[in-house]
Amino acid sequence: MTNTPTIGSTSRRGLLRAVAGAGAAAGLPGAAARASGNAENQPPNLPEWSRTLGPGVIEEPYGSRSRHETAVRRYVPWLTPDRISSVSFTPLAEMHGIITPSGLHFERHHGGVPDIDPADYRLMIHGMVERPLIFTLEDLRRLPSVSRIHFIECPANGGMEWRGAQMSGVQYTHGMLSCSEWTGVLLRVLLAQVGLRPGASWLLCEGSDASHLARSVPLAKALDDAIVAYGQNGEAVRPQQGYPVRLVLPGYEGNMWVKWLRRIEVGDRPWFTRWETRTYTDLMPNGLSRQFTFVNEVNSVITYPCPEKPLRGKPGFVEISGLAWSGAGRIVRVDVSVDGGDTWRTAELQEPVLTKALTRFRIPWEWREGQVAYLQSRAIDETGRVQPTIAALRKVRGVESIYHKNSIQTWLVERDGTVVNVQIDA
C-alpha cells in the first residue's frame, strides 16, 4: 500500500528506539582505498591505457558512465514497507553543476514503475470541457513545445529530521531532489485543444500506474507554467520519471508532478484525493492540517563538504559548494556561515540562475587542520523569502507535519575533518 507517513514521525521514533542501543555501524567503506592509485600508471611511467588501442565507436550504442564511477541512488529500508511503494535518494554529494543525470534522479513510486508501450499510450482530457479529446504520444509531439530547466523535490525531503538530526549524509537529508531539462507541451495548449467550460477552476491529474495516483491542480497553475512533458535531459522521460509522459508543475511539490499521466479531468473544485488528505497535508500542533500546500519554499544545502565528502587529510583551501532552490522563483542570494550562524558571507551564484531550478553556489574557505566548524547555508529568493532555521519552523509547525521542511542545514566539521549531520540551537 502506498505509504508516505512512515517517512514521518512514527518510524523515526522507531529508529530512535531501534538504533539507540545497537552501537555504531561498521566503518566507512572505501574511504582511502584508492587514494594513491597504481604508481605504474603515473609519471614518469606511461600508463597502460596509453600503450594500447581502446574500443571504437558504438561499442556501446547507448553510452554509460565510466566504470570507475560509483555514485548510485540509495534507499532506506526502514522508511517504507517495501521497495514498490518507496523512495530512493539522489547522491547530491556527487553532483556537479545543476543538472541531475537521469539515471541518478531520485525515485518515488506508489505502485511501482509501469512498463508502457508508447504505441498504447493515451492521454484523455474531459470533464468541464467543450470537446473531450484523446491524445496519442505522437499527437503531443506535434503540438508546440517548450524546454525548461526545473527542479523537482518531494515535499517529504528532510521530513525525517523534524525532531532532530538522524540521517548519515546529504543524500538522505536532501536527496529527494533533482533537476532536469523538461521538454513537452504547455498544459494551456492542451486545454485550448479541449476548450474550457465556464466555471472550470481545478483539474484532476491522474497516473496510469497501479496506484492511479491523482492530484488536484488549480487551473491558474495549469495555465501558468505547467508542462505535459515527454522529454528529460534531451531524451525521452525515463520510466522511473513517468515514461512516456509526466506532468511538470514548476515549484510545486513532487507528488503533484503526476507520472505516467493518463487522464486530466476538468472540474469546479478540488477532488480531496487520498494524496491531498491522508498524505501531503501538513499537520499542525493544534491538530488541524494544512491542505493544498503546493509550493516548496526557498531552501539550500552545502554539498561539499558534507558527511559523504569529509575534509579529512585536506587542510587548506576548500571551495564550499552547494545547491539552492525555491518553488517561488529565482534564487537571488545565498549566505554561508562556518561558525554556526554567527557571521555570514555571501556566496557566488553560478549563472545562469533560472527560476524554479537548482542554483549552484560556491564560496572559498580556508580550513585549518584541527578547526571545528559549523557550516550552514541560507538562501533568499526573489520574493524576499529567507530560508528559516529549524527552530523557527518548529516554533510555528511543531514536529509532526512531515512535509515542506526547508530549514537551514548544519554540518559539523570535527577536528579531524569528519563532517557530521547535526542540529544546533538557534
Partner: protein, 254 residues
C-alpha cells in the same frame, strides 16, 4: 502574505534594533506571495470544503486550438477511465456491499498487510485507531482519525487496491470493503449497507480538520554579523547516535 505574518514581521523590527550589534544585510523586500502560494479562491469558511464549487479564476485566456490534433473521446472510453469520486459522493457507481461481505474480502485481500483488525503489520499503514491522537506527540493518521470524506475511502480502495491487483474487484466488492473499513473504525453499524446514497452520509470525525495554506509563516531575517550575540554553539542533536557520517544511513541498499 497572511495578516498574522505581516504582524510578525513588524513585531520583529524592534527586536532587531535592540539586538544592537547584530547586522542584517538588506534582503529583497518581501513581496506578496499569496497568488504564488495559493493560486485559487476558496469558498468562504474556516475549513476546506468539497461540497461546493470553488470560484473560477478571473482572466482565463487560452491560445487558439490547433485543428486536427487529438480525437474525440467517446462516452464509453471516458466511462472506463473516469474513476474519480467526489467528496460528496458524486460519480459513485451503482452497487452495494455489507460489512459482513466486506470482512471476508478484507481477510482475503487486505489483512496480510493491514492486519486482521486494520492495525497495520510492520510498516504497512494502520486503517483504524488514532482518534484523539492528532494533537499528541504520536499522531496516527487513519481512516477513522484523519480521513476527511467517506466516499474518498471508496475512491482510494478501488483505484489502488488490492495492492497487487488494483481495480480487480467488482463495485459491490469495493462497497463491501469500504463498509468493513468504516466498521473497523466504529463509524457505521455492523448491519450497515454501503451504496452511493449511504456512503456520503457517513460522518467522518476529522471532516473539519483541514485548513488552507498558511505559509509563509516564518520571518525574513538575514543577519550577517554577530548574529549569535556571543552565545556559543550548542549541538542539540548529533546524527552519530544513529549512523556513521557518510554511511548509507546504516542500512541503505545497494
Amino acid at each position: 502574505m497572511s495578516r498574522s505574518m505581516r504582524k510578525g514581521a513588524l513585531a520583529g523590527l524592534p527586536l532587531l534594533a535592540l539586538a544592537g550589534f547584530a547586522v542584517a544585510q538588506q534582503a529583497p523586500t518581501p513581496r506578496d506571495v499569496s497568488a504564488l502560494y495559493r493560486p485559487f479562491e476558496a469558498p468562504p469558511g474556516e475549513r476546506t470544503r468539497g461540497d461546493v464549487p470553488w470560484p473560477a479564476p478571473g482572466n482565463v485566456s487560452l491560445p487558439e486550438p490547433i485543428p486536427g490534433i487529438g480525437r474525440p473521446a467517446t462516452s464509453a472510453e471516458i466511462a472506463g477511465w473516469d474513476i474519480a469520486i467526489r467528496p460528496d459522493g458524486a460519480n459513485l457507481p451503482p452497487g452495494r456491499g455489507t460489512v459482513q461481505e466486506g470482512e471476508e474480502l478484507y481477510l482475503q485481500h487486505c489483512a496480510s498487510c493491514h492486519g486482521d483488525f486494520g492495525e497495520g503489520i510492520d510498516r504497512w499503514p494502520a486503517l483504524m485507531g488514532g482518534r484523539g491522537s492528532l494533537t499528541t506527540d504520536n499522531p496516527r493518521r487513519t481512516v477513522g482519525s484523519f480521513w476527511q470524506h467517506a466516499p474518498m475511502v471508496f475512491d482510494y480502495i478501488r483505484r489502488a487496491m488490492p495492492y497487487t491487483a488494483p481495480q480487480s474487484l467488482t463495485n459491490d466488492e469495493y462497497y463491501a470493503l469500504t463498509a468493513y473499513v468504516l466498521y473497523l473504525n466504529e463509524l457505521i453499524a455492523e448491519d450497515a449497507v454501503m451504496d452511493r446514497d449511504s456512503l456520503p452520509r457517513v460522518e467522518m470525525p476529522n471532516r473539519d480538520g483541514f485548513v488552507l495554506e498558511e505559509r509563509p509563516d516564518t520571518e525574513n531575517v538575514a543577519c550577517m554579523q554577530n548574529c549569535r550575540q556571543g552565545r556559543p554553539v550548542t549541538v542539540t542533536m548529533d546524527s552519530r547516535q544513529f549512523v556513521q557520517p557518510g554511511s548509507g544511513s546504516g542500512t541503505s541498499e545497494p
